[in-house]
């Protein structure tokens, strides 16, 4: 016996959660682009989206965020800190790869300095993941030893029913159980079958890739230049990536008032490592692409014991020149370690 949430009860659920003070967020397609956005009713969700164009990352680590500000008036100088938001949210219909991405980044944001903006949002957000029954040619979670129904980073996992009328409910954390208490009477007991999970073929041998990357001799391999020759150096892959987390501080304003902001930054940009002197230790695009791969599969796991990739495939899916992690790791799989 399992608990079941029927789709026709979803409108009630959304209303209940909203009444309880939660902002309800889900996969939404607006105009020509999809993302996780605020919904007001069940009809606003689009569960047909294989994966929203923009990852879940921006809801926890926005592309631009004010940190502090100042105003100066003659003798008066005032500074103000922007506190982390206290909004309570529920994301209904996250994908496993996106939820996993958040869990992958948790140790990073809590390492030498605990990022309150990240953790406040993490603590105040319930993540309800829907297991994937559809995948596209770019999905690669299985190559990262994850799966269409991975529970990593999720508070509740829903499995679509075979009859397409709702979901099997698996509560995973106290945060998830708490949110589902609000709708406990809307759930049913049942023995319906879950729909088969999406088939995501394994595209490369991760262990072989990691072994090759760990060999210091391969740092200067000509492979890097060859594989990245067509990279145009935009930040699309890094900004859409659910785990890429680099940022930059920017001061905007003048002598009298201003704001310090935390903005997304990308290792694909030449400016990323440019020194004041003009020297750039990563002066070529191939050095930048190598950094991105090395960071995800060598340096990050070296420090946090987890690869910085959840296999969503956005890097390739939206790359203007059809590059991405899949092609690079597929190529590395065929090289001698």
């Amino acid at each position: 016996m399992t608990r079941i949430l029927l789709s026709d009860k979803l409108d009630n659920c959304v209303a209940r959660w909203r009444k309880a003070g939660l902002t309800v967020i889900g996969p939404v397609k607006k105009e020509t682009s999809s993302s996780y956005a605020t919904v007001e009713k069940a009809a606003d969700f689009d569960f047909g989206i294989v994966l929203p164009d923009r990852s879940i990352k921006g809801l926890f680590f926005p592309q631009t965020e004010p940190m502090m500000g100042y105003t100066i008036k003659k003798q008066d100088i005032a500074t103000n800190d922007f506190a982390p938001p206290t909004e309570k949210r529920i994301i209904f219909g996250a994908r496993s790869c996106d939820a996993s991405g958040l869990a992958i980044d948790d140790p990073l944001f809590g390492w030498d300095y605990k990022d309150d903006f990240w953790f406040q949002r993490r603590n105040e957000t319930v993540i309800v993941t829907i297991a994937c029954t559809k995948a596209d040619d770019f999905c690669m979670c299985t190559s990262l030893k994850l799966a269409p129904d991975s529970t990593k980073g999720s508070d509740v996992l829903l499995r679509p029913l075979q009859n397409n009328k709702g979901w099997l409910v698996e509560e995973l954390t106290d945060r998830g159980r708490e949110a589902f208490k609000e709708i406990a009477d809307l759930l049913l007991d049942g023995s319906e079958q879950a729909a088969p999970l999406a088939v995501v073929p394994e595209k490369f041998n991760l262990d072989a890739c990691v072994a090759w990357l760990k060999n210091p001799e391969n740092f200067d391999s000509t492979f890097w230049k060859e594989i990245s020759m067509r990279c145009i150096g935009c930040g699309s892959c890094t900004f859409l990536c659910p785990t890429c987390h680099c940022f930059d501080f920017q001061d905007e304003g003048d002598t009298y008032s201003g704001i310090r902001r935390k903005n997304w930054d990308s290792c694909s940009f030449s400016l990323f490592t440019m020194h004041t002197s003009g020297h750039n230790p990563r002066s070529t695009q191939s050095a930048r692409w190598r950094q991105r791969i090395m960071h995800k599969f060598n340096y990050f796991p070296g420090k946090f014991s987890v690869n910085s990739c959840s296999g969503c495939g956005r890097c390739t899916r939206q790359c203007p020149v059809d590059m991405g992690i899949t092609e690079t790791l597929q190529a590395i799989s065929t090289l001698k370690p």
């Binding site: 105009e31 020509t32 699309s236 059809d322």
Partner: protein, 276 residues
């Protein structure tokens, strides 16, 4: 022999005779409908070449990769007419020597491609002249017409909503053959001319600055529009500006390798209604 096979043969000849050191073309991509840029340096590598209606991207931007043409050797490149116009602009703006560019020209629709005769950009001037001639009666983008009918207030709201998705990844800039600056104005930080933040003002600033920089230079290849990971209809802005420049100055970007940039030149009969 299919056009693809004819061109493979031509690529092999160009490389084995030493006429070019490299050919930039297309190869198969991750999915059946995708093509990726391909850099061919040996006659054998020509086998990977794909040439069909899915070869859409304007590859000319790769020619201004730092150092590629500095040894004065030639490079072959597959280009549609819009790409050939890009070569003319890059030459006119002193970014490359058109003598070093061997063009493998092609054109076509969404079903098939046809070969274009010629080798140097100037060999295609008749084709480009005919495109300009037919520009006024070419079918206009229905969405653009819809936007033109909006009131200024509605139009501003429309673009603000579109730009609100911008994440400032600069894929539009990087994919554009005309955005060749070694250091873009938005990357200049002493002083910081343009906000780097991707907020309402920052996104508007970036996209408006880019629209003006491309006025009279954009050939409408659509690289920016296709590159945008959040699908902002960037080509509409550039198409609008190209139409304005054509109407006001009879300037059609990329006519010849000596064409003067419209916003950097003055003619006595230029319309001055906006000044007087």
């Amino acid at each position: 022999m299919s056009i693809q096979e004819q061109y493979k043969k031509r690529v092999r000849e160009l490389l084995s005779s030493g006429a070019v050191k490299m050919v930039i073309g297309y190869q198969a991509g991750t999915t059946a409908d995708r093509r990726r840029p391909l850099f061919i340096r040996t006659p054998e590598e020509a086998e990977k070449l794909v040439l069909d209606s899915a070869c859409i991207a304007n590859l000319s931007g790769y020619l201004v990769t730092e150092g590629l043409l500095s040894d004065e050797k030639s490079v072959g490149i597959f280009l549609r007419p819009d790409g050939i116009r890009s070569i003319n602009i890059l030459a006119a703006e002193a970014q490359l020597n058109p003598e070093q560019v061997v063009i493998l020209g092609f054109d076509g629709n969404d079903k098939e491609v046809t070969a274009l005769q010629g080798e140097k950009a100037r060999d295609f001037s008749a084709i480009i002249a005919s495109i300009k001639e037919h520009a006024p009666e070419a079918p206009r983008n229905p969405q653009l017409e819809q936007i033109e009918k909006m009131s200024p207030k509605e139009r501003f709201a429309f673009w603000q909503a579109e730009f609100s998705r911008c994440i400032k990844c600069y894929a539009c800039r990087q994919a554009c053959p005309m955005c060749y600056c070694r250091r873009c104005i938005v990357d200049s930080n002493q002083p910081q001319w343009v906000n780097t933040s991707s907020h309402t003002l920052g996104n508007l600033e970036w996209n408006v600055v880019r629209a003006f920089h491309l006025s009279g230079r954009c050939v409408g290849c659509g690289n920016c529009d296709r590159a945008c990971p959040v699908n902002i209809p960037l080509r509409l802005i550039n198409a609008k500006m190209a139409g304005e420049v054509l109407g006001a100055f009879d300037h059609f970007a990329g006519m010849s390798e000596t064409q003067e940039p419209v916003l950097a030149s003055f003619k006595k009969d230029d319309s001055e209604t906006f000044i007087l």
